[in-house]
């Protein structure tokens, strides 16, 4: 009986290992797809925030460029405007 139980346990263990392996395969495929989707979104953001696209859209809406001296640039971050020139902005990876 003990031997039978051990054999059954071993079989069950192997089944679990096989299932886990298939699941890992599936999850790794999902991770790849999500990473790919993340990169696609990154590209979309870059395209949508491109100054040339915004300029084109603005012209389509009949808007005109303001006098450059009247433009105030704000740096988005933590919900508050950050004073200072762009050259002071932290480089990627500098921040927390």
């Amino acid at each position: 009986v003990v031997l039978g139980m051990l054999v059954l346990g071993l079989v069950q263990l192997n089944v679990m290992v096989a299932e886990t392996s298939f699941r890992m395969d599936e999850l790794s495929g999902r991770i790849s797809k999500l990473e790919q989707r993340g990169e696609e979104h990154r590209l979309s953001v870059a395209r949508l925030s491109s100054p040339s696209r915004i300029g084109r859209e603005a012209r389509r809406l009949g808007l005109v460029l303001p006098d450059p001296m009247d433009v105030v640039y704000l740096h988005a971050g933590k919900g508050e405007a950050v004073e200072g020139p762009a050259s002071d902005a932290p480089a990627p990876g500098d921040g927390p």
């Binding site: 491109s50 001296m69 640039y73 762009a86």
Partner: protein, 580 residues
């Protein structure tokens, strides 16, 4: 019942034993002697090596905004030997990926070997749809596609582009190929006959090392506005092209670098061969031009630094001067005038600067040209950087002391010339220009590039006096077109005939117009160099100075540059124009 003859039984037994012996011997060969070899062959049949390509690093602007990034894509290929219906196959694939079916059909029919690409860099989703068709002889290969999301208005010549195989071919893409490319990995797995991974089978992975992101010094917004201003100036002045460099004098960081005409790195296929050869060049770094009068500051710097002239000293300046067998003229006829060095710079007197240069002599002038970086690469880190052209002293003639002080007979890149003015703006210290701030590795850690090379060229006192002279030129001299109310700007105009390529002499009516300056003069935060190629308005003060002003106005807003204090005028003998 008769018993079988014993002999027959023995014979049968012997045959059986012999047969068994053969089987056992064969089994021994297979299971013992050749066991390892067969096991290896079997394992090889079950193993699959999956290449894991490294993701190419992105190129971002100084604020982390993407200028170039890669996404997974696929190449669709065919083994034409197994494609039974080339016409139908071409049609079905063409419908999905949106290319003419005729093109695919020609590739399938015309292929002679066992492999032909049908399409490269296809979107993964579309490629998956093709895969689902399960057409015999059609398969996919993993690759990546490079995107340039801001297109042609984000320093295309600086960023560069990659080829179909994702390898950098120009610009920073080429310069930093080793960093950006990363290292490919691979996964080796054991599969069953249905292609599924066998649990507990062989499964080893060498993960790919993703490429490093390159953080440039470019400010995407300022770059965009700079390019718009440049394009507008080229059109207004009916010029052939133009170049603008915007840099920070204290650090050498280039915030914007534009060359018109430009191109969209994501649509290289639309360029003809001539356009491809010309438009992709980052002329600010790779091409040279004769700078003209913007070069006068080097002679003036050298004379002040060597104590061969004082700012208060006045020169007697006619409107022409003979040197060797040549006669040099000022841009406009005028009676003989008294001029200080400040007047010579502000009103860009060719004759005046030749008189100053004669005090220096060729050896000292050549020494200062070299100190300011002429004839040497700046080391900005860009492929194909030109070192410029400075004739060796042995080739200087009597007339050379008339041409070189006026920026003729020497050739520099726009970046070299911008660095000269950055040196003055930085109190006399030359700082190596840079296009890259640092790198960001896979874990997100930012590593700055080493500090730029620095060297003292002139004293702070000389630089301050030159700044006053350059500010005087914008206030009252040839550079008034660069004025911005409320800001003291220091700058110099330049107008130079274009030399004939592959022949001696100059074109009679083709000019390079330039203006290089910095602001605010009292505390310089930015240097802007602009050049227009063959403007019909000819003069730097008319064609280029307004472009400088346009770029400077954008920079003031973008970088929040305060007006600064007024700069005292240098000693001058020419009366200031009266304000109406």
């Amino acid at each position: 019942v008769t018993r079988p003859p014993i002999r027959r039984l023995v014979a049968l037994l012997a045959v059986l034993f012999l047969g068994m012996g053969v089987v056992v011997a064969r089994l021994t060969v297979l299971q013992v002697r050749d066991a390892e070899a067969y096991a290896d062959i079997a394992l090889e049949q079950r193993l699959r090596t999956i290449p894991l390509p490294a993701t190419r690093g992105a190129i971002v602007d100084r604020n982390g905004e993407d200028l170039a990034l890669s996404l997974d894509a696929a190449a669709i290929y065919a083994d034409p030997r197994y494609v039974k219906d080339p016409v139908g196959t071409a049609r079905r694939i063409a419908e999905i990926i949106g290319v003419p079916a005729k093109d695919l059909r020609e590739k399938l029919v015309g292929a002679t070997g066992s492999f032909v690409y049908l399409a490269r860099q296809v979107d993964r989703k579309l490629a998956a749809e093709v895969d689902e068709l399960e057409i015999p002889g059609i398969d996919l290969l993993h690759e990546s596609k490079r995107y340039y999301p801001a297109g042609e208005l984000a320093a295309p010549q600086v960023v560069g582009f990659v080829g179909l195989d994702g390898v950098g071919l120009s610009g920073l893409e080429y310069e930093h190929e080793d960093l950006l490319a990363g290292t490919a990995g691979e996964q080796v797995v054991e599969i069953d006959p249905y292609g599924r991974v066998i649990p507990q089978g062989v499964n080893t992975t060498s993960p790919p090392a993703p490429g490093t992101d390159v953080v440039t010094t470019i400010d995407k917004s300022l770059q965009y506005r700079t390019q718009l201003a440049l394009e507008d100036a080229v059109r207004r002045n009916h010029a052939k092209g133009g170049t603008v460099v915007v840099m920070v004098p204290q650090t050498g960081e280039v915030l914007a670098m534009a060359t018109y005409p430009w191109f969209d790195p994501g649509a290289l296929g639309e360029l003809g061969p001539a356009q491809l050869a010309s438009w992709v060049r980052n002329r600010a770094v790779t091409d040279v031009y004769e700078p003209g009068s913007v070069n006068k500051v080097i002679t003036a710097s050298a004379a002040l630094e060597e104590g061969l002239i004082t700012p208060r000293e006045t020169l007697t300046v006619p409107d022409h001067i003979g040197l060797g067998d040549a006669v040099f003229h000022d841009a406009h006829e005028h009676a003989t005038e008294r001029m200080t060095l400040g007047d010579v710079i502000a009103y860009s007197s060719n004759v005046g600067i030749i008189q100053v240069a004669s005090r220096l002599g060729p050896v000292t002038l050549a020494k200062y040209l070299s100190r300011f970086g002429f004839g040497q690469q700046t080391g900005v880190g860009f492929p194909g950087e030109s070192r410029g052209i400075v004739p060796p002293l042995s080739d200087w003639w009597a007339t050379t002391m008339g041409t070189v002080p006026n920026g003729i007979g020497v050739a520099v890149t726009p970046l070299q010339m911008a660095a000269v003015y950055a040196t003055i703006a930085n109190g006399g210290e030359w700082v190596q220009p840079s296009l890259v701030r640092g790198t960001v590795d896979g874990s997100g850690t930012f590593t700055p590039v080493p500090d730029p090379e620095r060297r003292r060229v002139i004293s702070g006192r000389t630089a301050t006096m030159l700044t006053r002279m350059l500010a005087y030129g914008v206030l009252a001299g040839t550079g008034t077109g660069a004025e911005i109310p409320g800001y003291a700007i220091a700058g110099k105009t330049g107008t130079a005939h274009k030399p004939k390529p592959n022949a001696s002499g100059y074109f009679a009516n083709r000019y390079m117009a330039s203006f290089i300056g910095f602001l605010p003069a009292s505390d310089p935060q930015i240097v802007i160099a602009v050049m227009l190629d063959e403007p019909d308005t000819i003069f730097g003060g008319i064609a280029a100075a307004p472009l400088f002003r346009a770029v400077a106005r954008h920079a003031i807003g973008r970088l929040r540059i305060p007006p600064g204090d007024a700069v005292p005028l240098p000693p001058h003998a020419i009366a200031l124009p009266t304000t109406p």
